[in-house]
Symmetry: C2
Subunit: 334 residues, 2 copies
C-alpha cells in the first residue's frame, strides 16, 4: 500500500504539504502542487479513509435502516439517496431490519463504533430503547414517515391524514358506502397512524357509520394483503371498496378478490399507497397514492449534510405533497 509519506518522498516535500494539496486546505506554490500531483499519479496514491477518519473523527459513512427489503417503494428512495451521498463524498451502509426490533438495535450499535456521520431511518420501530440508542449515537439522524415529538432530529413525511381522507372521499364519491381498510401495523408516531384518522374522517363526513370488521391491521406485504382481503371477502357483508396502506398490500388484495371469483373494479375497488413502478403495470392497473421517492432520498441526505455542518440547526419537519393517482383498480359502485 502506498502512503502519504511515499508521495511526500517522491515529490520531495513534507507529508503536510501533500495533505494540504489533496485537501486544498492551505495555499501551496503552483509548482509544488504540480510535483505533488505528479507523484500521486505516479504512485496511484489513494488516501486511507480510516487514518483520515481516525484523525478527523469523520467516517464519511452514512447508515440507512430500512424496515422491509421486499417493499420496492424504498428502492427508489435509496437510489437517489445513494447518488446524493456519493456526490457529497459519503458511502452508505445499509441494513434491512426485516420488521425486527433487535436487528434494528444491532445495526445501530454496530454502526456506532464505525462512527457513522449520519443515520437515515425508514422504519416504524420506535420505542424507548430506540430513543436511548439515538441519543448515545449522537450524530445527525433523519426519520422518514414518522411524527415523533420526542425525536430531536429531522423528519421527512407526508400529510397522510389528508391524502387518505381524499382517497376515501374519492371512493365515497363513486358511490361506495362499504369501504374497508387494510392497514399496515400501526406503530406509535408512524404517519400510518394518521391514515386511520383520515379514513374515519372521510366516512364520518359522509355520515357513514364505521364498521370495525372492515378495519384490519397487518404487516406490510403481499401475502398479508392477500390473507386479510380473503377474510374481508368472506364476511357476510363484504366491502365494495378497500383502501390499503401500501401497494404490496393492494396487490395481494387484488389477487384475493380475483380468487374469490369477483372482479376489479366492478365488484370491488382497491387503492394502494406509494405508487411503486409496478402499480402502473398491474392487471388491472392500480389506483394509488403517489409519493416523491426521489425527492425523499435527496432531502434525507441534504438534511444530514446540513446538520453535520451545523449541529445546532433547530430540527425541521419537511412535509412532502402526495397525490391520488386514479387508474383501473377503482371505479363506480355497480
Amino acid at each position: 500500500m502506498t502512503t502519504i509519506n511515499d508521495v511526500a518522498k517522491l515529490a520531495k516535500v513534507s507529508n503536510a504539504t501533500v495533505s494540504h494539496v489533496i485537501n486544498k486546505t492551505r495555499k501551496v506554490n503552483p509548482e509544488t502542487i504540480e510535483k505533488v500531483e505528479w507523484a500521486i499519479r505516479e504512485l496511484n496514491y489513494q488516501p486511507n479513509a480510516m487514518a483520515r477518519g481516525l484523525k478527523t473523527g469523520n467516517s464519511k459513512l452514512i447508515g440507512v435502516l430500512n424496515y422491509y427489503s421486499v417493499d420496492v417503494y424504498f428502492a427508489e428512495v435509496l437510489t437517489s439517496l445513494e447518488a446524493a451521498a456519493h456526490d457529497a463524498g459519503y458511502s452508505v451502509l445499509l441494513r434491512h431490519t426485516e420488521r425486527d426490533c433487535e436487528n434494528q438495535g444491532d445495526a445501530i450499535s454496530e454502526w456506532m463504533n464505525k462512527n457513522i456521520d449520519g443515520l437515515i431511518i425508514n422504519s416504524p420501530l420506535i420505542d424507548d430503547q430506540f430513543h436511548d440508542l439515538i441519543e448515545k449515537l449522537n450524530c445527525p439522524c433523519v426519520l422518514l414517515h414518522v411524527d415523533d415529538p420526542l425525536f430531536k432530529g429531522d423528519i421527512i413525511r407526508g400529510n397522510d391524514q389528508d391524502i387518505t381522507e381524499e382517497a376515501v372521499n374519492y371512493l365515497i364519491g363513486l358511490g361506495h358506502e362499504r369501504v374497508a381498510c387494510i392497514a399496515g401495523i400501526t406503530y406509535d408516531y408512524h404517519t400510518a397512524a394518521q391514515r386511520r384518522a383520515g379514513y374515519e374522517k372521510a366516512l364520518q363526513g359522509a355520515n357513514i357509520p364505521i364498521n370495525n370488521e372492515w378495519f384490519v391491521s397487518t404487516e406490510y406485504g403481499v401475502d398479508e394483503g392477500y390473507q386479510q382481503c380473503k377474510s374481508l371477502m368472506s364476511l357476510t357483508n363484504p366491502p365494495t371498496a378497500i383502501f390499503t396502506y401500501s401497494d404490496l398490500l393492494a396487490i395481494g388484495a387484488m389477487r384475493a378478490v380475483v380468487d374469490s371469483g369477483l372482479h376489479i373494479p366492478k365488484d370491488v375497488s382497491i387503492i394502494g399507497f406509494d405508487d411503486i413502478q409496478l402499480a402502473e403495470y398491474c392487471i388491472p392497473r392500480l389506483t394509488t397514492i403517489y409519493q416523491d421517492k426521489k425527492r425523499i432520498g435527496e432531502l434525507a441526505i441534504e438534511l444530514i449534510l446540513k446538520r453535520i455542518e451545523n449541529p445546532d440547526v433547530p430540527p425541521s419537519q419537511i412535509i412532502l405533497p402526495m397525490d391520488l393517482v386514479v387508474r383501473e383498480s377503482s371505479g363506480p359502485l355497480q
Copy 2:
C-alpha cells in the same frame, strides 16, 4: 468519546490488557478480566472501528454492488447477505449502479480507500476497466451470475442454459412453435448469455426454425418488457409464447398482451425468471424460474470469509440449481 485508555485507567491496568480482554487474544487473570469488563460497562465503552482498522488493516466492511435497484430479485439476496455479514462482524456498503458503468467504477474507487475487506457484485457490467479495478482493489471478490474466465475470484451462478432449455421445451410441449424471447441486454460473460443458447437449443431440438424477429434484447425492467412485447404483438406473425429474462420483463409483457386485447395464457403464454415474491400474486400468476436467493446471499458472504481467512484458496465456481415453477401464465396452445 471514551477510549481504551479511559477503560485502562479506571480498571487500573494497561491498555494492552484491555485490548487483550476485548479480543480474547491472550490469557488474562480472571479477576483482571472482571475488572476490565466492569470498567467497560461502567464507561459504556465501544472500541473505535477506525482506529482498529487502521492498525489491523481490516475495515470489517463489505461492499455490495447491484445493477438495478427496482429489481426486487436482489432484495431477497441482500437480506440473507446482510444477516450473514452481521453475524460475522461485518457491515455492508451498498451501491446501486443503476445500469451505469461509471457509477460502478466510482463505487469501487470510493470503497478502495475505505479499505473494504470484500466485494460482492451483482452486475453484468464487466469490461477491461473492471478487471483493472478489481486487480487494484486487491480484496476477496464474489461475482454473481457471471462466468468470466478472466476473473480470479469466486463465482456463484446457475446453469442458465439448461434451465432455459427446459423452460422452452415445456412451452414446445404445450404445442407452441412460435416462441419468442425477451432477453435482458446480454453482456459478455453474464450467464444471461447462456439463456440464448438454451432457447436456441430447445427450438433446434424440436426442429423449429429460429426467427430473429422473435428474439429481442432490452434492459431489465417492467417498462422495457412492456414495450418489447407490444412490438412483438404487433408483428404480422406474432408469437404465441414468450420466454423472458426476468420477472419484471414478464410482468411488463403480460400487461402488453392484455393491452393488445389478448388473453393469458389462452392467446399468449409468458414465462419469467427469478421467481420474485410478487410472481405468485400476479394476475394471472406468473410461471417462472426459481432461484434460491437466500442461499446466494449466504454463500456470497461465506466465500468472502473463506478467502479473507486464506487468500490463496483456488477460485471456486458454485453452481446453484434452479427450478421451473409452473403457474397460470403459461398453458397449451389453443
